[in-house]
Amino acid sequence: MATMTMLEAVRHTLHEEMARDERVMVLGQDVGTLGGVFRATEGLRDRFGAERVVDTPLSEGAIVGASLGLAWAGMVPVAEIQFLGFTHQAFHQVAGQLARIRARSGGRHGCQATLRAPFGGGVRAPELHSDSLEAQFAQCAGLKIAAPASAADAKGLLTAAIRDPDPVLVLEPLRGYRAIKDDVPEGEHIVPFGRAREVRGGDDCVIIAWSAMVQTCLRAALEVEEESGASIGVLDLRTLVPLDVEAIVAAAERTGRVVVAQEAPPTAGFASEVVATVQEEAFYALEAPIARVSGFDTPYPPAMLEERWVPDVSRVAAAVRRTLEARA
């Protein structure tokens, strides 16, 4: 065990996976000499050479599209997209190509490629750097999506992603890169996809979240628990696709009261999917409407307003209180 920030865990994992398997390569904008704008790829270029750690032109479509070809040639590409917002430039390649190539080839040949991208708000970044776009990718059947909330999971899920035979989008929370720090297992550490993590148990209400919102929800849970004595659980989904329906349903059935928190705008956000799943599978256990906490149905605002926009502890706590108070 070593204590690491999420960023360190990502870097450490890339080093380990590149050392373990010579087919693994890293490509993207500024990932080589600079070591990435956040230094997630620092040291890789010196250690593994410019052929396997490639500073590409400023072309997200080509980075993602070439990754498919590289994978078919037997490489294992790990592409960094500088910010999740700029995956939109490659959306046709992700949705129409990487996600579909296995089906298109009749199951014969998949695409073992990983896309890493930082996302999420709270660090006063410029426009288009903070958006939470996971739901758009969750509609791309054939793609998997991991969204670690801890440094340990950043390692375990990234390792699983790189070794997964299907294309995986790994979402890394911008504001967690340095702020989230915890114990990371040394050596091989794989967190299997589709298994949620019970961050804390709770019998009266469960808050479901992923990525950086997990920390926010944990604080909200403690706050409400302290003030009310109610027992509030927090469930970290870890991967959105595949989704751990069992764990979600079990938590909903145990508590009867559910809050789902996300940073994205509410309309068609991934929280809606979680809500729909809970009410489909655990309807009779529900004692209160499932509450969503989200951003707003507006573009992510400029820095001066982002604190109003990104759901914070007080908004999550308010939703938990509302849910606890709702008549059964």
Binding site: E51, T56, A62, G74, G106, G107, G110, P242
Partner: protein, 319 residues
């Protein structure tokens, strides 16, 4: 070439009889497709086509025809080429295959494998960002790829003149800093030679080449198209004079290498092969929930739940 046209015609006729989905006839473009494929070594090289070329890619294996038929039948195994057939599944999203071809070529080099990649696309495709981005990347990493634009003068109803103000498609190579070559796409020998030269460059580590094969789409865009609405008849007639198959036929006849008997034999052979492939295609098994098995390496728990639902509802519906 003759085979490609014949097979394309057979597909077309089957579509007209309602026994086949939309197809995109190759008529007129045989020299560009067959000629370029002829320069490749199917044991080590790859072809990455759009949708019009597969019928002309039997150089890469007899099975390509079977898969092409499966494709137009709408069968899920269409893209399931066995590992020894180095052909990418048919691409519908215009230009999207170009970055794949570049990545594949780049990857072959990184893996120390000997092949080059031949990527096909149309004149229309050269307006898409994917084309430029991929060509530019290929130039930077010196990928052993041949970017072969089949400029058939049309993108559905849009003539090349409205596609770009560039002097030629080959001129676009300058944007990627790679050689751009323009070749008579109706001259099968010229196309093969240009492709062979590009392949030599690729394998010598000199990087990609853009080849523009200038030709003409003599038929409709697809079976769903009515080209009489937009193709000037004089233009079509002028190109018909330059029909690549007739042209090669004349050359070979003059050299005493071709005659009516051989023509007939070749046609019969093409038909036999087509019939056999069509039978094989029709006999290819189809599982009604195969889409659940081919979305991921193994189905997610949600998909297994959806499979059960599918079967429950079907059996209820049938019951």
């Amino acid at each position: 070439m003759l085979r490609a046209r014949r097979w394309s015609t057979r597909l077309f006729n089957l579509q007209r009889q309602g026994r086949m989905g939309t197809t995109a006839p190759i008529d007129g473009e045989e020299a560009a497709v067959v000629g370029s494929a002829a320069a490749m070594d199917p044991a080590v090289d790859w072809a990455v086509p759009q949708y019009r070329e597969p019928v002309g890619l039997s150089r890469f294996g007899d099975r390509v025809l079977l898969h092409t038929i499966l494709y137009h039948l709408g069968h899920p195994d269409a893209g399931a080429y066995p590992p020894d057939i180095h052909v990418f599944p048919t691409q519908i999203s215009i230009a999207a295959q170009i970055p794949h071809a570049v990545g594949l070529a780049w990857g072959l080099r990184l893996r120390g494998e000997p092949g080059a990649v031949l990527c096909y696309f149309g004149d229309g495709a050269t307006s898409e960002g994917d084309f430029y981005e991929a060509a530019n990347l290929a130039g930077v990493v010196r990928a052993p790829v041949i970017l072969l634009c089949v400029n058939n003068s049309w993108a559905i109803s849009t003539p090349v003149r409205l596609q770009t103000a560039a002097g030629s498609i080959a001129d676009k190579a300058a944007a990627a800093g790679i050689p751009g070559v323009r070749v008579d796409g109706n001259d099968v020998v010229a196309v093969r030679e240009a492709t062979a030269a590009a392949r030599r460059r690729a394998l010598a580590g000199e990087g990609p080449t853009l080849i523009e094969a200038v030709t003409y789409r003599m038929g409709p865009h697809t079976t769903a198209d009515d080209p009489t609405r937009y193709v000037p008849p004089e233009e079509l007639a002028a190109w018909a004079e330059r029909d690549p198959i007739a042209r090669l036929g004349t050359r070979l006849e003059q050299a005493g290498l071709w005659d009516d008997d051989r023509q007939r034999a070749a046609e019969e052979d093409a038909d036999r092969r087509f019939d056999a492939a069509f039978d094989a295609a029709q006999a290819t098994p189809l599982r009604d929930d195969v889409f659940i098995d081919t979305a991921y390496a193994s189905p997610t728990p949600q998909l297994e739940r959806q499979r059960r639902l599918l079967h429950d509802e079907r059996s209820r519906g049938a019951g």
